[in-house]
Amino acid sequence: MEDSGAATEPLLLTTGAPGSQPCELPTPQTKVFRYRIWDINQQSLYLHNDQLVAGYLQGPNTALEEKIYWVPSRGFKQNKLPIVLGIQSGTRCLACSGTTQPELVLEDVNITAAAAQAGQAEPRWTFFRSYQDGAWRFEAAARPGWFLSTAAQPGQPLALAQPPDPARVLDFYFQGC
């Protein structure tokens, strides 16, 4: 039933992103940390339509995963483990904007510059981390009670959600790479 003789060669080995590489911890990091983030449903983040989207990356697509860059946010009380999150080597930062409904946006601001400005007066880039059972949550300093979340369905943008929300995933693995 299989016409193997006339089969065209699969493309996967010749095209596409460079082979996926496991995200091992490299040499000591300075100042800006490079991390992997993925939700407890195993969705990782990638860019689509200039938005951070959570989904499943197959084979060589793994290389499209956006690594998270972060620095401690020193303008806040450290007991809440405040950090500033960014992507693309820290050139774009996750920010909480929106007036009535909080909205997660990517802002073109250098992460160290954002961290230097971050404080009670400028909380948009800061997220408080909390840890439970091996997973982290990221609460927007600008909107207490709102957390980074993914949709249970893949391909949806990373957004802010207020628990409890069964349609959203709030817990993430967060690991240096």
């Binding site: 195993q42 499943y56 197959q58 084979g59 401690p72 020193r74 059972d133 240096g176």
Partner: protein, 543 residues
């Protein structure tokens, strides 16, 4: 529903169905048409067709290897149209495996916690009643995984939960479901490459350094302040504070850097460090605190800079060595220049010395020499009567009593000797070798006795002057031998020329050194004065 990945490759196992969404989508109404790349004929919308468009998705039911390639979705809205390309790759499984290693999904869970793995991209495959089929799970292509009660599939959902994950759970998990289309069932499979990482038992951070200690650092030195924490948690950032504020507020040149690195047993080393390029006084004043917050607590340690203790040992050793060196140097200088120093001292301080000289003595020295030794090659007469007075009396201002010159004729020699020696501060005995002349004192046993008495009774110092080298003292009187042994003798090295008559030759310096201190007044004046008015002898004018 959209997969929403512009640059993603689409994969499907040969013989399985796949649905591809156009990466572009809009919330407004638009027309979407799929094309095979290079073809102007739109993909069929007929459901019976193996490749067809249903709603906005491109379906392959099932996919064949020749379906690999590029496809175009053409979006028309209002007056514009937009083309987007997607790539499909139809693959075969690896030999003897139920998956292709290159098309796995990487997923990761951690030991000792509950893990969840997901069978991805099944959202398309709901039947007409919008229900998904049961999912079977295989590990390394073998069934029976669910016999282990730790593995629990979630009903109606694409998840498999694993309780109490162990490192042995690593591996390839294949999930398999079916999709019914037009009355026919098709397999849909995904394979997950599951990585398991050890959860460190110790979550609480522990400081490696500092540990509430002090360090001694030199003023102005360069110090790297490094705080290290060992922890099982990613992303803990210790940070420095001093005087209740961040170190960059304390000194804006203190720029903190954070780092993290892996250490054995799944632990991480997190650190914060900054440079003190030059330690200044303010750095010695406060404790530098390193703090770290972790999810359910925090910890703090400090380090304090201290001035180094001055090196007392160094100073002691250095000082001791210098002192010893100075002493040795002084001793050496004194040894070599003792005579010059003493003579210079006498000259410089003659006023004090002169005042002190009031011991009732009349003569500075009593000179004893072998008389009438005319046959002798060394003429003791010339020496004692000419050279000695020339130097000691005329040049140095001493007052000598020379027997044979200063005694009065007719006086009993023994009386003169006894009394004069008694009134002298030194006795100068001029010696000549026995071979050249006969003994100095052999015919003056009275003198010998007197000298002996003077030595014993009055402790008068005796100066021996050898006119030439005397090899054997054995034949000398015992008193002379005693003096020689005790104080040595000064040997005359000069001749009888004018040059040897200078008080500054080594010989005369030696003699002067052994002579008592003398007020060094102008010599000529001294010599013109009467030696003493109380002298039993008549004043003698020098030549």
């Amino acid at each position: 529903y959209s997969e929403g990945c512009e640059t993603c490759l689409h994969f499907v196992l040969k013989g399985e169905p796949v649905a591809i969404s156009c990466p572009k989508f809009y919330n407004i109404d638009y027309n979407l048409t799929w094309y095979r790349n290079g073809s102007d004929i739109p993909v069929s919308t007929e459901r019976h067709s193996r490749v067809h468009q249903r709603e906005n998705f491109l379906w392959f039911i099932p996919a064949n290897l020749e379906d690999s390639g590029f496809y175009t979705c053409n979006i028309r809205k209002a007056n514009s149209s937009e083309k987007t390309y997607v790539q499909l790759s139809v693959f075969k499984n690896d030999n003897d495996l139920c998956f292709n290693e290159n098309t796995r999904f990487d997923q990761k869970v951690f030991t000792l916690t509950a893990g969840k793995i997901t069978c991805p991209l099944l959202g398309y495959f709901k039947d007409e009643n919008n229900t998904a089929s049961e999912i079977q799970w295989y590990k390394e292509c073998k069934p029976g995984l669910l016999e282990d009660p730790r593995f629990q599939p979630l009903k109606g959902q694409p998840y498999l939960t694993i309780k109490n994950v162990t490192l042995q759970d690593k591996g390839n998990y294949t999930c398999l479901t079916t999709y019914m289309h037009m009355g026919k069932f098709y397999n849909v499979s995904r394979t997950i490459n599951l990585d398991v990482e050890e959860t460190p038992v110790k979550k609480k951070p522990e400081f490696i350094y500092p540990n509430n200690n002090t360090i001694k650092v030199d003023f102005g030195s360069h110090v790297v302040m490094d705080c290290k924490v060992s922890s099982g948690l990613d992303g803990l950032t210790p940070y420095w504070q001093v005087n209740d504020s961040d170190v960059d507020i304390f000194d804006n040149t203190y720029k903190e850097e954070y780092y993290e690195k892996q250490s054995p047993h799944g632990l991480l080393i997190a650190g914060a460090k900054f440079n003190i390029s030059k330690v200044t006084n303010k750095d010695y004043l406060y404790k530098f605190f390193c703090r770290v917050f972790y999810p359910h607590g925090h910890a703090t340690v400090y380090i304090k800079l201290e001035h180094p203790v001055p090196n007392i040992h160094g100073y002691l050793i250095g000082g001791g060595v210098s002192l010893v060196f100075v002493i040795v140097l002084a001793v050496v200088i004194y040894k070599f220049f003792k005579i010059d120093i003493v003579l210079w001292y006498r000259k410089s301080c003659h006023i004090f010395l002169f005042k002190k000289v009031s011991d009732g003595k009349l003569y500075d020295a009593y000179v004893l020499y072998p008389k009438n030794q005319v046959s002798c090659i060394y003429s003791p007469d010339i020496f004692a009567l000419k050279i000695l007075p020339e130097v000691l009396e005329r040049q140095c201002g001493y007052n000598l009593f020379i027997l044979g010159r200063d005694d009065l004729p007719g006086e009993a020699v023994i009386n003169v000797v006894d009394e004069t020696i008694h009134r002298s501060r030194r006795i100068i005995i001029v010696l000549i070798p026995e071979s050249s002349c006969y003994n100095v004192l052999e015919d003056t046993s009275e003198q010998q006795l007197a000298v002996y008495n003077a030595l014993i009774r009055d402790g008068i110092k005796v100066i021996l002057i050898e006119l030439s080298k005397i090899k054997d003292y054995a034949s000398m009187p015992e008193s002379i031998r005693y003096v020689k042994e005790k104080h040595g003798a000064i040997r005359w090295k000069g001749d009888f020329s004018e040059r040897s008559h200078s008080a500054n030759t080594t010989f005369w310096k030696n003699v002067r050194y052994q002579m008592p201190p003398r007020a060094n007044v102008a010599f000529s004046e001294q010599h013109l004065l009467p030696k003493t008015f109380s002298s039993p002898q008549t004043p003698v004018l020098e030549r």
